[in-house]
């Protein structure tokens, strides 16, 4: 087994019982590490004096794979980055391609995309916050709120057919219009979610035990967060209100009215509360978007993709009857579409922060270079700093409150 991270024993005070620290392996398979990453800790009793991380246990070579695949086939790779909120990754990739290709999506498509992205963000935060609860010992919260993830999965299934790794949408829009059942399920979710999440919040937010357990653990100051290029809820809990949806609005986010919850100390409790706040804001955005979508009537309500025949697969009935549609279909499926040469960097606000796509195209079928700017990978470095001096059990809660998704970390 490759022992990549090797730490040195730190000598302790000469009158202490231990002469030097104990090395402990919080190894890749561990019930508390939700995902495969390893931490080697130097412990003096229960206090952590040093931590060394090893990642790469699920390195799947996405960037090398992407150099082999035409643009459509890369969507399936992006699903598996942050697999708790895979529609956001898909939409982010499609937005990057649209930026490169110069495709402009109609408003209805943008609003539908916003609904799906906010649902994905909620599903990511549901997992994160309930797992923070599980790590402090409160298993019931997790079981109660997983039901809302099932409701979100049903909406995904109605739109794209798949629950988790959605591969949703196309360059220019969606593959099919949202039918009535999808909207009914969305209304059901909007109706049922507030009561359930309110119950979860009643159990946790002001619970004395939970507050004492999480407050003060893993504090991350704003300067340290900025220096370590942390983004997302972790940065916002530290006090910096940077959100890509507001800074560089994409997919018509500028038409929506929402707030950004910001914390103060950046400890575990602040991260938990910021994610809670973001979920309520996401619910409000979904309601606004749904209302805006319902305002499209008549033929406008049938628009679900941009008019870009070079990049968007034509309808099957046209493929079988019209010559141009057949040619476009063939060209798109074989990957022989004209991609302009150029470099584009596009970022979206993923569940964990700024998810960036740096795409270099040389005009060929496949990207010349595709690099994913993965927020989890970048902010896992800061774990070492924020856990020094804390107890082992607080370190576990810190680890889960950072919301590390192994797929995004290693790519």
């Amino acid at each position: 087994m490759s022992e990549t991270a090797v730490t040195q024993h730190i000598p302790l005070a000469s009158d202490s019982l231990q002469k030097e620290t104990t090395t402990m392996n919080l190894g890749p398979t561990h019930p508390a590490t939700h995902g495969v990453f390893q931490n080697i800790l130097e412990l003096s009793g229960e206090k952590i004096l040093n931590a060394e991380q090893t990642v790469g246990y699920i390195h799947r070579a996405f960037e090398k794979l992407a150099e082999r695949r035409p643009l459509y086939q890369i969507t399936t790779l992006t699903d598996r980055l942050n697999y708790c909120s895979s529609p956001i990754n898909n939409m982010g990739w499609h937005l990057t391609c649209e930026k490169l290709l110069g495709v402009k999506t109609p408003k209805r498509v943008d609003y539908l995309r916003v609904i799906i992205m906010e649902l994905a963000r909620m599903s990511d935060h549901i997992i994160c916050n309930s797992i923070v609860g599980v790590d402090t010992g409160a298993f019931t919260g997790f079981l109660y709120v997983m039901q809302y993830r099932e409701l979100i999965y049903e909406i995904y299934e109605e739109v794209c057919g798949s629950r988790l790794t959605t591969n949703m949408g196309r360059i220019g829009g969606f593959e099919r219009n949202f039918n009535d059942i999808a909207f009914q399920k969305l209304e059901k979710f909007i109706a049922e979610f507030p009561a359930g999440w309110q119950e979860f919040e009643n159990l946790f937010n002001r619970s004395r035990i939970f507050m004492e357990r999480t407050q003060g653990g893993g504090p991350l100051s704003a300067e340290m967060a900025l220096k370590y290029s942390v983004t997302g809820p972790n940065l916002r809990a530290a006090g910096v209100d940077y959100d890509v949806r507001v800074a560089q609005p994409y997919s018509s986010y500028e038409d929506f009215d929402f707030k950004i919850p910001v914390g103060t100390t950046g400890d575990n409790y602040d991260r938990f509360m910021v994610r809670n706040g973001e979920m309520w804001e996401s619910l409000s955005i979904i309601k606004q978007a749904y209302q805006k979508v319902q305002e499209f009537k008549g033929t406008e309500a049938d628009v679900f993709h941009a008019d870009a025949p070079e990049y968007y697969l034509p309808e099957k009935k046209d493929v079988y009857t019209k010559m141009e549609a057949l040619i476009w279909h063939f060209k798109i499926v074989m990957g022989e579409i004209e991609i302009p040469k150029g470099e584009v960097y596009h970022a979206v606000e993923g569940g964990n922060g700024e998810l960036g796509f740096y795409l270099i195209s040389d005009g060929g079928r496949t990207p010349y270079r595709l690099h994913f700017r993965r927020p989890c990978f970048i902010y896992y470095q800061v774990y070492k700093e924020i856990v020094k001096g804390s107890m082992l059990s607080d370190a576990i809660v810190t680890l889960s409150s950072l919301n590390l998704i192994a797929g995004e970390m290693d790519a």
Partner: protein, 172 residues
């Protein structure tokens, strides 16, 4: 004053003159080429200058251009000025036979793992990096997999029939 791409370009030209070349502004993002020896100085200037304040390092990655002899490996820095909301892209080229670039970890501690990943994939040696070793691949790997000459698949498999997978011919 609100910062725009023009002002950033002008300030960089004032300070570094003709050293910085290949100015491009694709899709709204200003991009330039910085000589290898000056990368830390330019990053420091962008970080410290009161007007520029590019204090957030978004990403570091590398690209391999096999046909550009003498400059095969490009290290690309994406910077972000959070208060003014301006992004910038810097490219630093290095020869593949001597791929050395000064590290940015003294300025941005978050560059630590980004540079380790770049080393792991491309073999770019960052001078002054506190702990340059592989991060995502296994430690024993002796080649740099993202370079164009190396294949995607594991070559030691014996159970795959290349013809059935469409890999026997020249379709690639």
């Amino acid at each position: 004053m609100t910062l725009t791409n023009e002002i950033v370009k002008q300030k960089l030209k004032e300070k570094f003159g003709e050293e910085i070349t290949e100015w491009e502004e694709g899709y709204g993002l200003l991009s330039c080429k910085v000589p290898n020896a000056l990368n830390l100085k330019v990053l420091q200037f962008l970080h410290d200058d009161d007007n520029l304040q590019f204090g957030f390092l978004t990403d570091i990655c590398a690209v391999h251009y096999p046909e550009k002899t003498g400059e095969e490996l490009a290290v690309v820095y994406h910077l972000h000025n959070l208060p003014q909301n301006i992004r910038l892209r810097l490219k630093v080229y290095a020869d593949i036979k001597k791929p050395e670039v000064y590290t940015a970890t003294s300025l941005f501690p978050g560059a630590n793992w980004m540079e380790r990943e770049t080393y792991d994939f491309y073999g770019v040696l960052f001078l002054g990096h506190p702990d340059l070793r592989r991060i995502l691949n296994v430690e024993e790997m002796d080649y740099f997999p993202m370079r164009k000459e190396f294949p995607l698949e594991d070559q030691s498999r014996i159970d795959k029939d290349d013809d059935m997978f469409g890999r026997g011919g020249s379709f690639s």
